[in-house]
């Protein structure tokens, strides 16, 4: 029995044992047991993933476990990438959950769901047949839905968010189900090797249909526009460690699905598939980060940033498919490497950010940036964690996301002339998208960190914040270390990721990573993340030393009042808030985000020249959702209203329906025979 098999079986055993223990163990010890169990489950998954990346391939079929199809598990290098990501997130979240769950989240069923959710996510990339895949996919959706509902008794919005999530995830499931069943209908059985054989005989129309249907389902899971509406609702309302699991691990499985079905099972396909993927990715990236840049709810902002990052990943996947369709497999491998590396990096920093946001929520009870601030002296650990996450999220050097975005940009630069007019038009747009996204991401995370954590507290709760317990800090620490390692030594993961994506296109590893430099194969281009970091740190220290030497006369710092225009002490109400910080950007992109202003002036009764009160409200609604979902919802509602009229309880009417239908059927039979 090889390592992959042992680890996968271990994951399942640990998950079931932990879930059972969660139901039996008394409350005080429950969260510790579940946390350790979840972390172990994640560790086993990560071990399986690393073993798979090292080249172990494992396949097993258990006939009787599921009716009809049985269970088929297959782990290859592509699965390995996602297994390790999900496993690693599971470790950090498990440790963090020990402390986080103590406050109202240690109910039996909620706790039992946590390891099961991690295990279900781990099973999705390990599935080796359509039946197994769909069952695991649904298991993942259900366990996550129950976890989203964990706090439904505290806030009314939770139920609404969960309803959105439930409906959208199941509509997506239906789309994937139909798509995969159409494909399976042409194959001998539902295992992936059989599908690969069948895909080569499919007509382009059928293959396109299969791809389009599965794309709908997978894109909705990945939070891609216009199917993202559940994401900014469900992520903020879920408990924060669950948000981290969903945002860092679960949404990436949408990407896994697109790569697995589109590039692996269907074997590439037509150019328009990948143009579509690229366009969807570009739109999602810009729209997601724009909403994040003008948003003020910390967790909602992070949720939109997930949409942005998945958009960037899809740009990479789409570019990869496009280059492969044009016959340039090496470049395709490079683009896919960038995408998969970004999946890994995004998982690391988004876990960190959501865990830190959870720590803030835990300490202050607020997610509203406008009422936070001043957390630096009160919560140094959380502030450091969020700061690191913000650096990573804004894709600046010294952060991990910079490496993957650099690879993506390189793939796009070299791809301009790779595939005729289509790439010549799409590549500049894609680069502009990545660039605009990078700029807005800097604005978003400067706002989130600067307003949320620095300066002075803007509310009573923020002023009384206390640092989170050590287990939560340890969870953040794990994610933080992962961020730093990925940023400085991408060499640890790049060969494996490059090998995995090279194998998808049947070429060699498109990137050669030495300890210091990452070099592209076949193209000019190299990056030395460790050297950049060392240079910047060394230069900072040199500057600090020189500045001290130069100012040798005064070595002690004195503190002084802030400049207040001589008008007395500054109050927290005079500070810039997240809303005011984002106001210029919101004005610049007025036509895109369409904010809603609401000014309410009440006058004194005596004279309408004297103003009693002015209230101003600003909302930035999700415009895509507004325009796209409202008509659909209105249609559904109209149908619902029509229902009572058609079925008003009269037995006569129902008998009439029956009579009419039977007559209609008879007439139809007579006419067609």
């Amino acid at each position: 029995m090889n390592i992959v098999a042992t680890a996968i079986v271990g994951t399942m055993v640990v998950a079931v044992a932990t879930a059972t223990a969660a139901l039996l163990v008394p409350r005080p010890a429950r969260s510790a047991v579940v946390g350790v169990g979840t972390a172990l489950c994640g560790a086993a998954g990560m071990a399986a993933g690393i073993a798979a990346l090292a080249g172990q391939v494992w396949s097993a079929a258990v006939a009787g476990l599921l009716p009809l199809a049985g269970v088929v598990l297959t782990v290859d290098t592509l699965s390995g990438v996602f297994l390790s990501v999900i496993g690693a997130v599971g470790i950090a979240v498990g440790i963090y959950g020990i402390g986080y769950a103590r406050h109202g989240l240690d109910g039996r069923w909620v706790q039992a769901m946590e390891p099961l959710f991690v295990a279900a996510m781990l099973l999705v990339p390990a599935a080796g047949s359509v039946g197994t895949f769909l069952v695991c996919w649904e298991l993942m959706a259900l366990t996550s839905l129950l976890l989203v509902l964990a706090e439904h008794s505290h806030r009314a919005e939770v139920a609404s968010a969960a309803r959105w999530y439930a409906v959208m995830t199941h509509l997506g499931f239906v789309a994937i189900l139909i798509g995969l069943l159409v494909l399976t209908g042409h194959a001998d059985n539902d295992s992936f090797p059989a599908l690969r054989v069948a895909a080569s005989t499919l007509s382009p129309t059928t293959a396109g249909l299969v791809f389009a249907l599965t794309l709908i389902g997978f894109a909705s899971k990945a939070g891609i526009l216009p199917l993202h509406a559940w994401l900014p609702r469900a992520h903020p309302e879920a408990p924060s460690h669950v948000s981290a699991l969903m945002s860092a691990a679960m949404v990436t499985l949408g990407v896994y699905g697109i790569v697995r079905v589109g590039l692996d099972l269907l074997g590439g396909g037509a150019q328009w598939w990948w143009l579509l993927v690229l366009a969807l990715g570009a739109v999602s990236a810009v729209y997601g980060i724009l909403q994040a840049a003008v948003g003020t709810d910390l967790k909602r902002l992070l949720a939109y940033s997930t949409t942005e990052n998945m958009g960037l990943v899809l740009i990479g996947v789409g570019a990869g498919g496009l280059f492969a369709a044009a016959g340039n497999t090496l470049l395709a491998g490079l683009a896919l490497t960038a995408a998969l590396l970004h999946v890994i990096n995004h998982a690391a920093f988004k876990t960190l950010l959501f865990l830190a946001a959870g720590s803030v929520l835990h300490a202050t009870g607020s997610r509203d940036l406008d009422s936070l601030g001043g957390l630096r002296p009160l919560m140094p650990g959380t502030t450091a964690a969020f700061g690191l996450g913000a650096l990573a999220g804004s894709a600046l050097p010294l952060g991990p996301a910079f490496v993957s975005e650099w690879l993506l940009l390189q793939a796009l630069v070299h791809g301009l002339a790779a595939g005729g007019v289509a790439t010549a038009v799409m590549m500049p747009i894609a680069v502009a998208t990545v660039a605009l996204t990078a700029g807005l991401a800097v604005a978003t995370f400067v706002k989130a960190f600067g307003v949320g954590f620095l300066a002075r507290p803007r509310s009573e709760q923020a002023a009384n914040a206390r640092e989170s317990p050590p287990t939560m800090l340890a969870g953040m620490g794990v994610a933080g270390v992962a961020c730093v390692v990925l940023a400085l030594t991408p060499v640890l993961v790049l060969p494996a990721v490059g090998g995995a994506s090279g194998r998808v296109f049947g070429t060699t590893d498109p990137v050669s990573a030495g300890l210091l430099t990452v070099r592209l194969q076949g193209f000019a281009g190299s990056l030395a993340p460790l050297l950049v970091a060392v240079t910047v740190v060394a230069a900072t220290m040199a500057v600090a030393v020189l500045a001290r030497l130069f100012a040798a006369r005064h070595r002690t710092r004195v503190s002084a009042r802030l400049w207040d225009c001589g008008a007395g002490p500054l109050s927290a109400r005079m500070e810039y808030t997240a809303t005011s910080f984002a106001e210029p950007l919101q004005r610049v992109f007025d036509d895109v985000v369409r904010p809603e202003h609401d000014v309410d002036i009440t006058h004194y009764r005596e004279s309408r020249y004297l103003v009693n009160e002015v209230s101003y409200r600003l909302r930035v609604p999700d415009r895509v959702e507004h325009r796209l979902y409202r008509p659909v919802l209105a249609g559904v509602r109209a149908w619902g209203r029509a229902g009572p009229r058609l079925a008003n309880g009269s037995v006569h009417l129902y008998l009439g329906y029956g009579f009419a239908v039977v007559c209609g059927a008879l007439i139809l039979l007579v006419v067609t025979r």
């Binding site: 800097v442 706002k447 600067g450 193209f523 810039y576």
Partner: protein, 315 residues
């Protein structure tokens, strides 16, 4: 890194560090003369720096280490860029290359750090300046990256050294439509990034119009000296990058003494000429309203996009 590389890097750092305040002095002097004033002299920025550096360091109450380290980080990122860019000689470029995306991202990192410091003070001024600076930064980024894209496509590399040598080997590349369009686009981006007119007025202290100055209002003494020096060096670096990309003649190919001397001279002349042109142009310009700036930047973005199109069809 080889010895020649280290020597070249140190030379470039020393040149830019010493020369940048002088460049600011020259630009102020030109502006003063054109406006009919006597001016304070070319050395005035250095006198200011010396005066500031000798003062007592001050920490405004309620600020954290973000406020204290931001000027260091801003200066450090600028120095890091100066060390590896082929300003005076291509020998300064390390083996791994000087990637243009990295250069731009490093400079952005410094600016973002200073914006965080502005927010850290918790005053209305700091927040206002940070917000405006970040808005402009976010809008300049697309122009910068797309212009880099246009420049690197014909060369097939985003390495600065490769772009420079390709133009040196084939001077006709310098006047391709793609290069000219990218030059104008990058020029506008440089003006916005360095906070010059018409995007920001470096000499204003009026609340409504300040961008950069509002952000650094709480800095005093040695910290302010660092901020001022970093700003001056960023100006030199952006002008130097522009000159290196579009007029790379005179950049030494190795690190011989004569070559370095010539390279130093040519670099100084190029940057001074660009600075003088910028200062002279500024006399005739008024600051744009903040909400008109995006239009200017959108224009530069369109130019950059046209440059890409041109590089595909004519490159």
């Amino acid at each position: 890194m080889s010895v020649a590389g280290a020597v070249s890097a140190l030379l470039q750092i020393a040149l830019v560090a010493v020369g940048s305040p002088l460049l600011v002095g020259v630009m102020r002097q030109i502006r003063a003369r054109l406006e009919g004033r006597a001016g304070a002299g070319v050395l005035q920025p250095w006198r200011d720096l010396r005066k500031l550096a000798r003062k007592q360091p001050i920490t405004p109450r309620g600020t954290s280490e973000v406020f204290r380290t931001a000027p260091l980080l801003m200066l450090a990122t600028t120095v890091a860029v100066v060390a590896v860019a082929p300003f005076v000689t291509i020998a300064a470029v390390p083996d791994a290359g000087t990637d243009l995306f990295v250069v731009v991202a490093l400079l952005t990192l410094g600016a973002a750090a200073l914006a965080l410091a502005g927010l850290d003070t918790g005053t209305a001024f700091g927040g206002m300046g940070a917000s405006r600076e970040i808005t402009i930064l976010a809008l300049v980024e697309p122009t910068l990256l797309v212009a880099i894209f246009a420049l690197s496509v014909p060369v097939g590399s985003t390495n600065l050294a490769d772009i420079v040598t390709s133009i040196l080997h084939d001077p006709s590349r310098a006047i391709t439509p793609a290069n000219l369009l990218a030059g104008v686009a990058l020029g506008l981006a440089v003006v916005a990034e360095t906070g010059r007119l018409p995007v920001d007025n470096p000499s204003t202290h009026l609340e409504l119009t300040m961008v950069h100055e509002a952000m650094v209002l709480e800095y005093a003494g040695p910290d302010l000296a660092l901020v001022e020096l970093a700003s001056a060096m960023r100006l030199s670096v952006f002008l130097g990058l522009w000159a290196t990309l579009f007029a790379p003649w005179g950049i030494a190919a190795d690190a011989g003494v004569g070559a370095l001397a010539l390279g130093t001279l040519v670099f100084t002349v190029k940057v001074t000429a660009l600075g003088a042109a910028l200062a002279a142009g500024e006399v005739f310009l008024a600051k744009l309203r903040l909400f008109r700036v995006p239009e200017l930047l959108a224009g530069s973005f369109v130019l950059a996009l046209l440059a890409v199109v041109a590089s595909f069809f004519f490159g």
